[in-house]
Amino acid sequence: MRNIAVLIIGAGHAGLAMSRWLSLRSIDHVVIERGEIANSWRRERWDSLRLLTPNWQRRLPGFAYEGDDPHGFAAMPEVIGFMERYARRIAAPVETHSRVTSVRRIESGYHVATTRGDWHCRAVVLAAGACNIASVPRLPERLPAGIQTLTPMDYRNPGKLDHGGVLVVGAAATGIQLANEIHRSGRPVTLAVGEHIRAPRTYRGRDIQWWMDAAGVLDQRFDEIDDLERARRVPSFQLVGSPECATIDLNALRDIGVQLTGRMVGLSGGKIWCSGSLRNQCAMSDLKLGRLLDTFDRWASENGRDREFDPPHRLAPTIVDEKPPLSIDLAKRNVRTIIWATGYRPDLSWLQIPVLDRKGRIRHNGGIVDAPGMYLMGMPFLRRRKSALIDGAADDARELSDHLASYLAGRQVLSLPNFAPKPNGRDQVGTTALADAMSG
Protein backbone atom coordinates (compact mmCIF):
# COMPACT_ATOMS: atom_id res chain seq x y z
CA MET A 1 0.00 0.00 0.00
CA ARG A 2 1.39 3.34 -1.09
CA ASN A 3 0.41 6.60 0.58
CA ILE A 4 -0.25 9.84 -1.22
CA ALA A 5 -2.13 13.02 -0.39
CA VAL A 6 -4.18 13.19 -3.57
CA LEU A 7 -4.90 10.59 -6.22
CA ILE A 8 -6.24 11.74 -9.59
CA ILE A 9 -8.01 9.14 -11.72
CA GLY A 10 -7.47 9.76 -15.43
CA ALA A 11 -4.63 11.40 -17.37
CA GLY A 12 -6.64 13.35 -19.91
CA HIS A 13 -6.84 17.12 -20.08
CA ALA A 14 -8.89 17.37 -16.86
CA GLY A 15 -6.61 15.14 -14.79
CA LEU A 16 -3.47 16.81 -16.11
CA ALA A 17 -4.85 20.30 -15.46
CA MET A 18 -5.60 19.28 -11.88
CA SER A 19 -2.11 17.80 -11.55
CA ARG A 20 -0.64 21.11 -12.67
CA TRP A 21 -2.60 23.03 -10.05
CA LEU A 22 -1.74 20.59 -7.29
CA SER A 23 1.94 20.95 -8.20
CA LEU A 24 1.62 24.73 -8.09
CA ARG A 25 0.15 24.36 -4.62
CA SER A 26 2.93 21.90 -3.65
CA ILE A 27 0.44 19.12 -2.96
CA ASP A 28 1.82 15.61 -3.27
CA HIS A 29 -0.22 13.61 -5.79
CA VAL A 30 -0.27 10.90 -8.44
CA VAL A 31 -2.26 10.55 -11.66
CA ILE A 32 -3.52 7.03 -12.26
CA GLU A 33 -4.19 6.20 -15.91
CA ARG A 34 -5.79 2.94 -17.15
CA GLY A 35 -3.89 3.12 -20.46
CA GLU A 36 -1.68 5.87 -21.79
CA ILE A 37 -1.94 9.64 -21.57
CA ALA A 38 -5.00 10.82 -23.53
CA ASN A 39 -6.18 7.22 -23.71
CA SER A 40 -9.73 7.87 -24.92
CA TRP A 41 -8.43 10.11 -27.69
CA ARG A 42 -6.12 7.27 -28.81
CA ARG A 43 -8.49 4.33 -28.76
CA GLU A 44 -12.11 5.36 -28.64
CA ARG A 45 -12.49 7.81 -31.51
CA TRP A 46 -13.21 7.47 -35.21
CA ASP A 47 -10.50 8.16 -37.80
CA SER A 48 -11.76 11.44 -39.24
CA LEU A 49 -12.59 13.08 -35.92
CA ARG A 50 -11.16 16.49 -35.22
CA LEU A 51 -11.76 18.63 -32.17
CA LEU A 52 -14.91 20.74 -32.33
CA THR A 53 -12.98 23.66 -30.88
CA PRO A 54 -10.39 25.66 -32.87
CA ASN A 55 -6.69 25.32 -32.05
CA TRP A 56 -6.48 28.72 -30.29
CA GLN A 57 -8.99 27.43 -27.78
CA ARG A 58 -6.71 24.59 -26.69
CA ARG A 59 -5.60 26.17 -23.43
CA LEU A 60 -4.49 24.34 -20.31
CA PRO A 61 -2.94 25.78 -17.14
CA GLY A 62 0.48 27.07 -18.23
CA PHE A 63 0.25 25.62 -21.73
CA ALA A 64 -1.50 26.40 -25.00
CA TYR A 65 -1.47 25.72 -28.70
CA GLU A 66 1.72 27.13 -30.20
CA GLY A 67 1.37 26.25 -33.90
CA ASP A 68 0.79 28.48 -36.90
CA ASP A 69 -2.83 27.47 -37.59
CA PRO A 70 -4.83 28.92 -34.69
CA HIS A 71 -8.10 28.63 -36.59
CA GLY A 72 -7.64 24.99 -37.59
CA PHE A 73 -9.13 21.94 -35.92
CA ALA A 74 -6.80 19.29 -34.54
CA ALA A 75 -7.01 15.68 -35.64
CA MET A 76 -6.49 12.99 -33.01
CA PRO A 77 -2.71 12.46 -33.41
CA GLU A 78 -2.19 16.16 -32.80
CA VAL A 79 -4.43 16.08 -29.72
CA ILE A 80 -2.54 13.11 -28.32
CA GLY A 81 0.82 14.80 -28.98
CA PHE A 82 -0.41 17.95 -27.31
CA MET A 83 -1.44 16.07 -24.16
CA GLU A 84 1.85 14.17 -24.06
CA ARG A 85 3.83 17.40 -24.38
CA TYR A 86 1.75 18.94 -21.64
CA ALA A 87 2.31 16.01 -19.28
CA ARG A 88 6.06 16.31 -19.88
CA ARG A 89 6.08 20.09 -19.55
CA ILE A 90 4.36 20.02 -16.17
CA ALA A 91 6.20 16.84 -15.10
CA ALA A 92 2.92 15.23 -14.20
CA PRO A 93 3.43 12.19 -11.94
CA VAL A 94 1.44 9.82 -14.17
CA GLU A 95 1.30 6.10 -13.55
CA THR A 96 0.15 4.58 -16.82
CA HIS A 97 -1.37 1.15 -17.51
CA SER A 98 -2.86 1.16 -14.06
CA ARG A 99 -6.59 0.55 -14.03
CA VAL A 100 -8.61 1.48 -10.99
CA THR A 101 -10.65 -1.47 -9.77
CA SER A 102 -12.20 0.05 -6.66
CA VAL A 103 -12.39 3.23 -4.64
CA ARG A 104 -13.56 2.75 -1.05
CA ARG A 105 -13.93 5.11 1.86
CA ILE A 106 -11.70 4.35 4.81
CA GLU A 107 -10.85 6.17 7.97
CA SER A 108 -8.89 9.31 7.02
CA GLY A 109 -9.49 9.06 3.30
CA TYR A 110 -9.82 6.59 0.47
CA HIS A 111 -8.49 3.20 -0.47
CA VAL A 112 -7.93 2.97 -4.20
CA ALA A 113 -7.20 -0.46 -5.64
CA THR A 114 -5.57 -0.61 -9.07
CA THR A 115 -4.23 -3.34 -11.32
CA ARG A 116 -0.77 -2.18 -10.26
CA GLY A 117 -1.21 -2.01 -6.52
CA ASP A 118 -3.18 -0.29 -3.83
CA TRP A 119 -3.10 3.31 -2.70
CA HIS A 120 -4.18 5.18 0.35
CA CYS A 121 -5.01 8.82 -0.25
CA ARG A 122 -6.69 11.62 1.66
CA ALA A 123 -8.44 13.08 -1.36
CA VAL A 124 -9.38 11.72 -4.74
CA VAL A 125 -10.17 13.52 -8.01
CA LEU A 126 -12.40 11.71 -10.50
CA ALA A 127 -11.16 12.83 -13.91
CA ALA A 128 -11.78 9.74 -16.01
CA GLY A 129 -14.13 11.58 -18.33
CA ALA A 130 -17.80 11.83 -19.15
CA CYS A 131 -17.69 9.58 -22.20
CA ASN A 132 -16.42 6.14 -21.12
CA ILE A 133 -19.46 4.15 -22.22
CA ALA A 134 -21.67 4.71 -25.23
CA SER A 135 -25.32 4.84 -24.17
CA VAL A 136 -27.37 2.42 -26.23
CA PRO A 137 -31.17 2.32 -26.07
CA ARG A 138 -32.73 -0.87 -24.76
CA LEU A 139 -34.56 -2.57 -27.59
CA PRO A 140 -37.90 -4.25 -27.00
CA GLU A 141 -36.96 -7.12 -29.29
CA ARG A 142 -34.00 -8.49 -31.19
CA LEU A 143 -32.94 -6.83 -34.40
CA PRO A 144 -33.28 -8.95 -37.54
CA ALA A 145 -30.28 -11.23 -38.10
CA GLY A 146 -27.42 -9.86 -40.16
CA ILE A 147 -27.65 -6.25 -39.01
CA GLN A 148 -24.46 -5.02 -37.42
CA THR A 149 -24.78 -2.55 -34.58
CA LEU A 150 -21.96 -0.21 -33.60
CA THR A 151 -21.34 2.56 -31.14
CA PRO A 152 -19.23 5.59 -32.08
CA MET A 153 -16.51 4.06 -29.89
CA ASP A 154 -16.30 1.00 -32.18
CA TYR A 155 -16.77 2.86 -35.44
CA ARG A 156 -13.61 3.86 -37.33
CA ASN A 157 -14.50 4.73 -40.95
CA PRO A 158 -17.16 4.01 -43.58
CA GLY A 159 -14.90 1.55 -45.42
CA LYS A 160 -15.20 -0.92 -42.53
CA LEU A 161 -19.01 -1.00 -42.85
CA ASP A 162 -21.02 -3.41 -44.92
CA HIS A 163 -22.22 -2.06 -48.26
CA GLY A 164 -25.85 -1.16 -47.91
CA GLY A 165 -27.93 1.23 -45.87
CA VAL A 166 -26.97 2.64 -42.49
CA LEU A 167 -29.26 3.91 -39.78
CA VAL A 168 -27.64 6.52 -37.53
CA VAL A 169 -29.63 7.08 -34.36
CA GLY A 170 -29.04 10.49 -32.79
CA ALA A 171 -28.20 13.85 -34.35
CA ALA A 172 -25.86 15.64 -32.01
CA ALA A 173 -22.24 16.28 -33.09
CA THR A 174 -21.39 12.57 -33.38
CA GLY A 175 -24.53 11.59 -35.27
CA ILE A 176 -24.35 14.32 -37.88
CA GLN A 177 -20.62 13.75 -38.51
CA LEU A 178 -21.05 10.01 -39.02
CA ALA A 179 -24.21 10.45 -41.12
CA ASN A 180 -22.30 12.86 -43.36
CA GLU A 181 -19.21 10.76 -43.99
CA ILE A 182 -21.07 7.45 -44.28
CA HIS A 183 -23.63 8.79 -46.74
CA ARG A 184 -20.86 10.32 -48.84
CA SER A 185 -19.18 6.90 -48.98
CA GLY A 186 -22.16 5.60 -51.00
CA ARG A 187 -24.02 3.93 -48.14
CA PRO A 188 -27.46 5.56 -47.96
CA VAL A 189 -28.04 6.94 -44.48
CA THR A 190 -31.24 7.37 -42.52
CA LEU A 191 -30.79 9.68 -39.55
CA ALA A 192 -33.18 9.48 -36.58
CA VAL A 193 -33.35 12.96 -35.08
CA GLY A 194 -34.43 13.77 -31.53
CA GLU A 195 -33.62 16.87 -29.53
CA HIS A 196 -30.67 18.62 -31.11
CA ILE A 197 -29.00 22.00 -31.28
CA ARG A 198 -28.22 23.48 -34.66
CA ALA A 199 -25.08 25.57 -34.87
CA PRO A 200 -23.30 27.17 -37.83
CA ARG A 201 -19.52 26.69 -37.82
CA THR A 202 -19.00 30.39 -38.48
CA TYR A 203 -21.18 33.43 -37.85
CA ARG A 204 -20.47 36.97 -39.04
CA GLY A 205 -17.01 35.84 -40.12
CA ARG A 206 -15.94 34.29 -36.80
CA ASP A 207 -16.02 30.75 -35.50
CA ILE A 208 -19.02 30.02 -33.30
CA GLN A 209 -16.64 29.05 -30.49
CA TRP A 210 -15.09 32.49 -30.77
CA TRP A 211 -18.51 34.04 -30.17
CA MET A 212 -19.27 31.65 -27.32
CA ASP A 213 -15.95 32.54 -25.72
CA ALA A 214 -15.99 36.28 -26.35
CA ALA A 215 -19.62 36.85 -25.33
CA GLY A 216 -19.04 35.01 -22.07
CA VAL A 217 -21.41 32.13 -22.85
CA LEU A 218 -18.74 29.52 -22.11
CA ASP A 219 -17.88 31.18 -18.81
CA GLN A 220 -21.44 31.12 -17.56
CA ARG A 221 -21.36 29.51 -14.14
CA PHE A 222 -23.35 26.64 -12.73
CA ASP A 223 -24.62 28.77 -9.84
CA GLU A 224 -25.90 31.48 -12.18
CA ILE A 225 -28.37 29.65 -14.34
CA ASP A 226 -32.00 28.73 -13.85
CA ASP A 227 -32.13 25.07 -14.71
CA LEU A 228 -28.75 23.45 -14.15
CA GLU A 229 -30.14 19.92 -14.43
CA ARG A 230 -31.31 20.71 -17.91
CA ALA A 231 -28.16 22.58 -18.91
CA ARG A 232 -26.12 19.52 -17.96
CA ARG A 233 -28.20 17.34 -20.26
CA VAL A 234 -28.17 19.59 -23.33
CA PRO A 235 -26.90 17.66 -26.36
CA SER A 236 -23.70 18.77 -28.06
CA PHE A 237 -23.93 21.36 -30.83
CA GLN A 238 -24.25 19.96 -34.34
CA LEU A 239 -20.65 20.84 -35.16
CA VAL A 240 -17.75 19.32 -37.03
CA GLY A 241 -14.14 20.42 -37.00
CA SER A 242 -12.90 20.32 -40.59
CA PRO A 243 -10.22 22.06 -42.64
CA GLU A 244 -13.00 23.59 -44.75
CA CYS A 245 -14.80 24.96 -41.65
CA ALA A 246 -17.90 23.20 -42.96
CA THR A 247 -21.31 23.46 -41.35
CA ILE A 248 -23.22 20.20 -41.19
CA ASP A 249 -26.80 20.88 -40.21
CA LEU A 250 -29.90 18.90 -41.08
CA ASN A 251 -30.43 20.97 -44.23
CA ALA A 252 -26.91 20.11 -45.42
CA LEU A 253 -27.51 16.42 -44.74
CA ARG A 254 -30.89 16.52 -46.48
CA ASP A 255 -29.22 18.19 -49.50
CA ILE A 256 -26.86 15.25 -49.99
CA GLY A 257 -29.75 12.80 -49.69
CA VAL A 258 -29.74 11.69 -46.06
CA GLN A 259 -33.26 10.63 -45.04
CA LEU A 260 -34.32 12.36 -41.84
CA THR A 261 -36.84 10.78 -39.49
CA GLY A 262 -38.10 11.54 -36.00
CA ARG A 263 -36.51 10.14 -32.86
CA MET A 264 -36.37 6.36 -32.76
CA VAL A 265 -39.12 5.20 -30.41
CA GLY A 266 -39.60 1.51 -31.04
CA LEU A 267 -38.82 -1.69 -32.87
CA SER A 268 -41.27 -4.38 -33.89
CA GLY A 269 -41.63 -6.79 -36.77
CA GLY A 270 -38.36 -5.76 -38.35
CA LYS A 271 -39.34 -2.12 -38.39
CA ILE A 272 -37.85 0.76 -36.48
CA TRP A 273 -40.56 3.18 -35.36
CA CYS A 274 -39.95 6.89 -35.33
CA SER A 275 -41.66 9.73 -33.51
CA GLY A 276 -43.92 12.13 -35.36
CA SER A 277 -42.28 15.00 -33.52
CA LEU A 278 -39.50 15.83 -36.02
CA ARG A 279 -41.12 19.10 -37.07
CA ASN A 280 -41.23 20.40 -33.50
CA GLN A 281 -37.70 19.18 -32.74
CA CYS A 282 -36.46 21.21 -35.73
CA ALA A 283 -38.60 24.23 -34.82
CA MET A 284 -37.20 24.23 -31.28
CA SER A 285 -33.66 23.94 -32.55
CA ASP A 286 -34.11 26.82 -35.01
CA LEU A 287 -35.59 29.01 -32.26
CA LYS A 288 -32.77 28.13 -29.88
CA LEU A 289 -30.17 29.00 -32.49
CA GLY A 290 -31.98 32.28 -33.19
CA ARG A 291 -31.77 33.19 -29.50
CA LEU A 292 -28.08 32.27 -29.37
CA LEU A 293 -27.31 34.46 -32.39
CA ASP A 294 -29.39 37.26 -30.80
CA THR A 295 -27.10 36.98 -27.78
CA PHE A 296 -24.01 37.35 -29.96
CA ASP A 297 -25.48 40.31 -31.86
CA ARG A 298 -26.49 42.03 -28.64
CA TRP A 299 -23.03 41.49 -27.18
CA ALA A 300 -21.39 42.92 -30.32
CA SER A 301 -23.53 46.02 -30.38
CA GLU A 302 -23.45 46.64 -26.62
CA ASN A 303 -19.66 46.50 -26.75
CA GLY A 304 -19.49 48.76 -29.79
CA ARG A 305 -17.84 46.07 -31.90
CA ASP A 306 -20.45 45.65 -34.64
CA ARG A 307 -18.11 46.99 -37.32
CA GLU A 308 -15.52 44.30 -36.69
CA PHE A 309 -17.83 41.63 -38.05
CA ASP A 310 -19.94 40.85 -41.09
CA PRO A 311 -23.54 42.02 -40.75
CA PRO A 312 -25.93 39.85 -38.69
CA HIS A 313 -27.95 37.27 -40.55
CA ARG A 314 -30.19 34.34 -39.74
CA LEU A 315 -30.06 30.82 -41.16
CA ALA A 316 -32.83 29.51 -43.39
CA PRO A 317 -35.27 27.40 -41.36
CA THR A 318 -34.63 23.67 -41.18
CA ILE A 319 -36.59 21.99 -43.95
CA VAL A 320 -38.72 19.08 -42.86
CA ASP A 321 -40.34 16.72 -45.35
CA GLU A 322 -44.11 17.00 -45.62
CA LYS A 323 -44.39 13.46 -44.28
CA PRO A 324 -41.20 12.18 -42.69
CA PRO A 325 -41.30 8.38 -42.44
CA LEU A 326 -42.75 7.06 -39.18
CA SER A 327 -41.17 3.66 -39.62
CA ILE A 328 -38.13 2.19 -41.30
CA ASP A 329 -38.52 -1.30 -42.68
CA LEU A 330 -34.97 -2.51 -42.15
CA ALA A 331 -35.16 -5.22 -44.83
CA LYS A 332 -36.89 -3.07 -47.44
CA ARG A 333 -34.44 -0.21 -46.97
CA ASN A 334 -31.58 -2.70 -46.94
CA VAL A 335 -30.26 -1.34 -43.65
CA ARG A 336 -27.13 -3.35 -42.85
CA THR A 337 -25.72 -1.27 -40.00
CA ILE A 338 -27.15 0.68 -37.09
CA ILE A 339 -24.95 3.17 -35.25
CA TRP A 340 -26.05 4.36 -31.83
CA ALA A 341 -24.99 8.00 -31.61
CA THR A 342 -27.20 8.34 -28.55
CA GLY A 343 -24.75 9.80 -26.09
CA TYR A 344 -22.16 8.66 -23.60
CA ARG A 345 -21.90 8.20 -19.87
CA PRO A 346 -19.04 7.77 -17.44
CA ASP A 347 -17.96 4.34 -16.18
CA LEU A 348 -18.17 4.44 -12.40
CA SER A 349 -18.41 0.71 -11.80
CA TRP A 350 -15.38 0.88 -9.48
CA LEU A 351 -16.75 3.63 -7.27
CA GLN A 352 -17.86 1.88 -4.09
CA ILE A 353 -19.10 4.98 -2.34
CA PRO A 354 -22.77 5.96 -2.05
CA VAL A 355 -22.59 9.19 -4.02
CA LEU A 356 -24.79 8.29 -6.98
CA ASP A 357 -28.31 9.59 -7.46
CA ARG A 358 -31.15 7.34 -8.61
CA LYS A 359 -30.13 7.88 -12.24
CA GLY A 360 -26.59 6.74 -11.51
CA ARG A 361 -25.02 10.20 -11.71
CA ILE A 362 -22.57 11.52 -9.16
CA ARG A 363 -24.10 13.93 -6.65
CA HIS A 364 -21.90 16.99 -6.60
CA ASN A 365 -22.00 20.73 -6.18
CA GLY A 366 -19.84 22.27 -8.89
CA GLY A 367 -17.45 19.30 -8.79
CA ILE A 368 -17.33 19.03 -5.00
CA VAL A 369 -18.66 15.53 -4.57
CA ASP A 370 -21.03 14.60 -1.78
CA ALA A 371 -18.19 12.77 0.03
CA PRO A 372 -15.40 14.52 1.95
CA GLY A 373 -12.25 15.04 -0.08
CA MET A 374 -13.73 13.79 -3.34
CA TYR A 375 -13.80 15.92 -6.46
CA LEU A 376 -15.12 15.54 -9.99
CA MET A 377 -13.79 17.07 -13.22
CA GLY A 378 -14.60 17.19 -16.92
CA MET A 379 -18.38 16.75 -16.80
CA PRO A 380 -20.82 18.84 -18.86
CA PHE A 381 -21.46 22.14 -17.07
CA LEU A 382 -19.64 20.96 -13.96
CA ARG A 383 -18.81 24.54 -12.94
CA ARG A 384 -19.14 26.40 -16.22
CA ARG A 385 -20.66 25.84 -19.62
CA LYS A 386 -17.14 25.07 -20.88
CA SER A 387 -16.36 22.51 -18.16
CA ALA A 388 -16.33 19.52 -20.53
CA LEU A 389 -14.09 21.30 -23.05
CA ILE A 390 -10.30 21.12 -22.92
CA ASP A 391 -10.48 24.88 -22.42
CA GLY A 392 -12.73 24.38 -19.39
CA ALA A 393 -10.25 22.37 -17.34
CA ALA A 394 -8.04 25.29 -16.27
CA ASP A 395 -10.60 27.34 -14.36
CA ASP A 396 -12.26 24.30 -12.80
CA ALA A 397 -8.91 22.82 -11.71
CA ARG A 398 -7.85 26.13 -10.18
CA GLU A 399 -11.03 26.48 -8.14
CA LEU A 400 -11.39 22.84 -7.14
CA SER A 401 -7.72 22.56 -6.19
CA ASP A 402 -8.22 25.61 -3.98
CA HIS A 403 -11.06 23.86 -2.20
CA LEU A 404 -9.02 20.67 -2.04
CA ALA A 405 -6.03 22.46 -0.51
CA SER A 406 -8.25 23.89 2.20
CA TYR A 407 -9.71 20.47 2.84
CA LEU A 408 -6.25 18.93 3.25
CA ALA A 409 -5.21 21.75 5.52
CA GLY A 410 -8.15 20.87 7.73
CA ARG A 411 -9.72 24.26 7.30
CA GLN A 412 -13.44 24.64 7.41
CA VAL A 413 -14.63 24.32 3.82
CA LEU A 414 -18.20 24.77 2.87
CA SER A 415 -19.71 22.98 -0.03
CA LEU A 416 -20.93 26.27 -1.38
CA PRO A 417 -20.69 27.18 -5.01
CA ASN A 418 -19.34 30.67 -4.45
CA PHE A 419 -16.15 29.96 -2.57
CA ALA A 420 -13.96 31.32 -5.33
CA PRO A 421 -14.07 34.83 -6.73
CA LYS A 422 -15.70 35.11 -10.09
CA PRO A 423 -13.33 35.94 -12.90
CA ASN A 424 -13.64 39.45 -14.16
CA GLY A 425 -12.12 41.41 -16.95
CA ARG A 426 -14.35 39.92 -19.57
CA ASP A 427 -17.57 41.44 -20.81
CA GLN A 428 -20.35 39.32 -19.45
CA VAL A 429 -23.78 39.47 -20.98
CA GLY A 430 -26.87 39.13 -18.84
CA THR A 431 -27.29 35.64 -17.50
CA THR A 432 -31.01 35.56 -18.19
CA ALA A 433 -30.34 36.20 -21.83
CA LEU A 434 -27.83 33.37 -21.84
CA ALA A 435 -30.14 30.94 -20.11
CA ASP A 436 -32.72 31.84 -22.71
CA ALA A 437 -30.29 31.33 -25.50
CA MET A 438 -29.30 27.90 -24.37
CA SER A 439 -32.39 26.28 -22.94
CA GLY A 440 -36.10 25.95 -23.29
Binding site: V265, S275, G276, S277, A283, R291, K323, R358, G440
Partner: protein
Protein backbone atom coordinates in the same frame (compact mmCIF):
# COMPACT_ATOMS: atom_id res chain seq x y z
CA UNK B 1 -41.82 50.67 -11.95
CA UNK B 2 -40.82 48.87 -15.08
CA UNK B 3 -43.24 47.03 -17.29
CA UNK B 4 -41.98 43.70 -16.05
CA UNK B 5 -43.20 44.54 -12.55
CA UNK B 6 -46.81 44.24 -13.69
CA UNK B 7 -48.03 40.85 -12.53
CA UNK B 8 -48.63 38.38 -15.32
CA UNK B 9 -51.78 36.38 -14.73
CA UNK B 10 -52.89 33.63 -17.06
CA UNK B 11 -54.79 31.89 -14.28
CA UNK B 12 -52.10 29.23 -13.90
CA UNK B 13 -50.60 28.60 -10.48
CA UNK B 14 -47.05 28.07 -11.62
CA UNK B 15 -45.65 28.20 -8.09
CA UNK B 16 -47.82 25.21 -7.15
CA UNK B 17 -46.72 23.36 -10.30
CA UNK B 18 -43.04 24.08 -9.65
CA UNK B 19 -43.49 23.02 -6.02
CA UNK B 20 -45.08 19.78 -7.15
CA UNK B 21 -42.25 19.21 -9.60
CA UNK B 22 -39.69 19.61 -6.86
CA UNK B 23 -41.60 17.39 -4.43
CA UNK B 24 -42.20 14.65 -7.00
CA UNK B 25 -38.56 14.64 -8.10
CA UNK B 26 -37.78 13.52 -4.55
CA UNK B 27 -40.67 11.05 -4.36
CA UNK B 28 -40.98 9.51 -7.83
CA UNK B 29 -43.44 6.87 -6.57
CA UNK B 30 -46.00 9.60 -5.89
CA UNK B 31 -45.66 10.64 -9.53
CA UNK B 32 -47.18 7.36 -10.70
CA UNK B 33 -50.66 8.24 -11.96
CA UNK B 34 -53.42 6.13 -13.53
CA UNK B 35 -56.08 7.97 -15.51
CA UNK B 36 -59.31 6.23 -16.29
CA UNK B 37 -62.57 6.51 -18.12
CA UNK B 38 -65.55 4.20 -18.44
CA UNK B 39 -67.49 3.67 -21.61
CA UNK B 40 -70.98 2.19 -22.04
CA UNK B 41 -72.67 1.27 -25.24
CA UNK B 42 -76.00 3.06 -25.62
CA UNK B 43 -77.33 2.04 -29.02
CA UNK B 44 -76.01 1.79 -32.55
CA UNK B 45 -72.66 3.63 -32.68
CA UNK B 46 -73.65 5.81 -29.74
CA UNK B 47 -71.75 5.33 -26.50
CA UNK B 48 -71.42 7.33 -23.33
CA UNK B 49 -68.16 7.75 -21.49
CA UNK B 50 -67.67 9.02 -17.98
CA UNK B 51 -64.58 10.41 -16.32
CA UNK B 52 -64.36 10.98 -12.63
CA UNK B 53 -61.76 9.40 -10.39
CA UNK B 54 -58.11 8.82 -11.00
CA UNK B 55 -55.14 7.53 -9.05
CA UNK B 56 -52.21 9.75 -8.20
CA UNK B 57 -49.99 11.01 -5.36
CA UNK B 58 -50.24 7.53 -3.89
CA UNK B 59 -54.02 7.32 -3.56
CA UNK B 60 -57.38 7.39 -5.32
CA UNK B 61 -58.40 10.95 -6.11
CA UNK B 62 -62.10 11.77 -6.01
CA UNK B 63 -63.42 14.53 -8.20
CA UNK B 64 -66.36 16.74 -7.26
CA UNK B 65 -67.93 16.24 -10.65
CA UNK B 66 -68.43 13.33 -12.99
CA UNK B 67 -67.91 14.37 -16.59
CA UNK B 68 -69.94 12.68 -19.35
CA UNK B 69 -69.15 12.45 -23.03
CA UNK B 70 -71.46 11.19 -25.75
CA UNK B 71 -69.71 9.72 -28.74
CA UNK B 72 -71.33 8.71 -31.99
CA UNK B 73 -70.76 9.02 -35.70
CA UNK B 74 -72.27 11.53 -38.12
CA UNK B 75 -75.22 10.89 -40.38
CA UNK B 76 -73.06 10.29 -43.44
CA UNK B 77 -72.00 7.09 -41.64
CA UNK B 78 -75.70 6.24 -41.27
CA UNK B 79 -75.42 7.04 -37.57
CA UNK B 80 -77.54 9.29 -35.42
CA UNK B 81 -74.89 11.89 -34.67
CA UNK B 82 -75.58 11.99 -30.93
CA UNK B 83 -72.04 13.03 -30.09
CA UNK B 84 -68.61 13.81 -31.48
CA UNK B 85 -66.84 10.96 -33.23
CA UNK B 86 -64.12 9.23 -31.21
CA UNK B 87 -61.40 10.57 -33.51
CA UNK B 88 -62.66 14.07 -32.84
CA UNK B 89 -62.17 13.43 -29.12
CA UNK B 90 -58.52 12.73 -29.94
CA UNK B 91 -58.31 16.13 -31.64
CA UNK B 92 -60.06 17.71 -28.64
CA UNK B 93 -57.53 16.08 -26.32
CA UNK B 94 -54.56 17.29 -28.36
CA UNK B 95 -55.89 20.84 -28.66
CA UNK B 96 -56.73 21.05 -24.96
CA UNK B 97 -53.37 19.64 -23.91
CA UNK B 98 -51.33 22.00 -26.08
CA UNK B 99 -53.45 24.99 -25.05
CA UNK B 100 -53.07 24.22 -21.34
CA UNK B 101 -49.35 23.84 -21.93
CA UNK B 102 -49.13 27.23 -23.62
CA UNK B 103 -50.86 28.90 -20.67
CA UNK B 104 -48.56 27.21 -18.16
CA UNK B 105 -45.35 27.90 -20.09
CA UNK B 106 -46.42 31.51 -20.69
CA UNK B 107 -47.06 31.99 -16.98
CA UNK B 108 -43.67 30.50 -16.15
CA UNK B 109 -41.98 32.77 -18.70
CA UNK B 110 -43.98 35.78 -17.46
CA UNK B 111 -45.79 36.30 -20.74
CA UNK B 112 -49.32 37.70 -20.49
CA UNK B 113 -51.74 35.95 -22.84
CA UNK B 114 -54.76 37.77 -24.22
CA UNK B 115 -56.18 35.04 -26.43
CA UNK B 116 -55.20 31.61 -27.64
CA UNK B 117 -57.21 29.68 -30.16
CA UNK B 118 -56.41 26.58 -32.09
CA UNK B 119 -57.83 24.70 -35.02
CA UNK B 120 -56.95 21.02 -34.99
CA UNK B 121 -57.41 18.99 -38.15
CA UNK B 122 -56.89 15.31 -38.68
CA UNK B 123 -56.68 13.99 -42.23
CA UNK B 124 -57.99 10.50 -42.74
CA UNK B 125 -58.49 8.20 -45.69
CA UNK B 126 -61.49 6.17 -44.56
CA UNK B 127 -60.65 3.39 -47.00
CA UNK B 128 -58.63 2.12 -44.04
CA UNK B 129 -61.44 1.76 -41.50
CA UNK B 130 -63.82 0.48 -44.17
CA UNK B 131 -61.37 -2.26 -45.09
CA UNK B 132 -61.24 -1.20 -48.75
CA UNK B 133 -57.46 -0.93 -49.00
CA UNK B 134 -55.19 -2.73 -46.55
CA UNK B 135 -52.32 -0.37 -47.38
CA UNK B 136 -54.25 2.54 -45.87
CA UNK B 137 -53.96 2.90 -42.12
CA UNK B 138 -57.03 3.31 -39.94
CA UNK B 139 -55.79 6.34 -38.09
CA UNK B 140 -54.88 9.84 -39.11
CA UNK B 141 -52.47 10.31 -41.98
CA UNK B 142 -51.43 13.45 -40.21
CA UNK B 143 -52.66 16.07 -37.78
CA UNK B 144 -52.34 19.81 -38.32
CA UNK B 145 -52.71 22.23 -35.46
CA UNK B 146 -52.92 25.92 -36.14
CA UNK B 147 -52.61 28.33 -33.22
CA UNK B 148 -53.51 31.99 -33.04
CA UNK B 149 -51.91 33.53 -29.98
CA UNK B 150 -52.28 37.13 -28.89
CA UNK B 151 -49.80 37.88 -26.11
CA UNK B 152 -47.31 40.43 -24.81
CA UNK B 153 -44.42 38.74 -26.58
CA UNK B 154 -42.46 38.73 -29.81
CA UNK B 155 -43.36 36.39 -32.67
CA UNK B 156 -40.37 34.17 -31.81
CA UNK B 157 -41.30 34.08 -28.13
CA UNK B 158 -44.79 32.93 -29.08
CA UNK B 159 -43.34 30.28 -31.39
CA UNK B 160 -41.14 29.12 -28.53
CA UNK B 161 -44.19 28.88 -26.23
CA UNK B 162 -45.98 26.68 -28.73
CA UNK B 163 -42.86 24.57 -29.27
CA UNK B 164 -42.24 24.07 -25.55
CA UNK B 165 -45.87 23.15 -25.03
CA UNK B 166 -45.49 20.35 -27.61
CA UNK B 167 -42.31 19.20 -25.93
CA UNK B 168 -44.06 18.78 -22.57
CA UNK B 169 -47.46 17.62 -23.84
CA UNK B 170 -48.79 14.18 -22.86
CA UNK B 171 -51.26 13.99 -25.72
CA UNK B 172 -48.68 15.17 -28.26
CA UNK B 173 -46.46 12.33 -27.06
CA UNK B 174 -49.36 9.86 -27.20
CA UNK B 175 -50.22 10.70 -30.79
CA UNK B 176 -46.64 11.00 -32.08
CA UNK B 177 -45.17 7.92 -30.39
CA UNK B 178 -46.29 4.30 -30.18
CA UNK B 179 -47.93 3.00 -27.02
CA UNK B 180 -48.49 -0.61 -25.99
CA UNK B 181 -52.20 -1.23 -25.74
CA UNK B 182 -53.69 -4.25 -23.98
CA UNK B 183 -57.39 -4.92 -24.49
CA UNK B 184 -58.92 -7.67 -22.37
CA UNK B 185 -62.35 -9.17 -22.07
CA UNK B 186 -63.27 -9.75 -18.45
Amino acid sequence: MSMSAIAVNNGVNVDALMGAREALAKAPEAAQFRWQATCDWMNGTHSRATVSNFFGLGQDQQRKTEFRFDADHPEVFASEDLGATPVEYVLVGLGACLTAGIAAVAQHRKIQLRSVSATIEGAMDIQGILGIDSDVRNGFEGIKVSFKVDADATADEIKALVAQSQKRSAVFDIVTNPTNVTVEVA
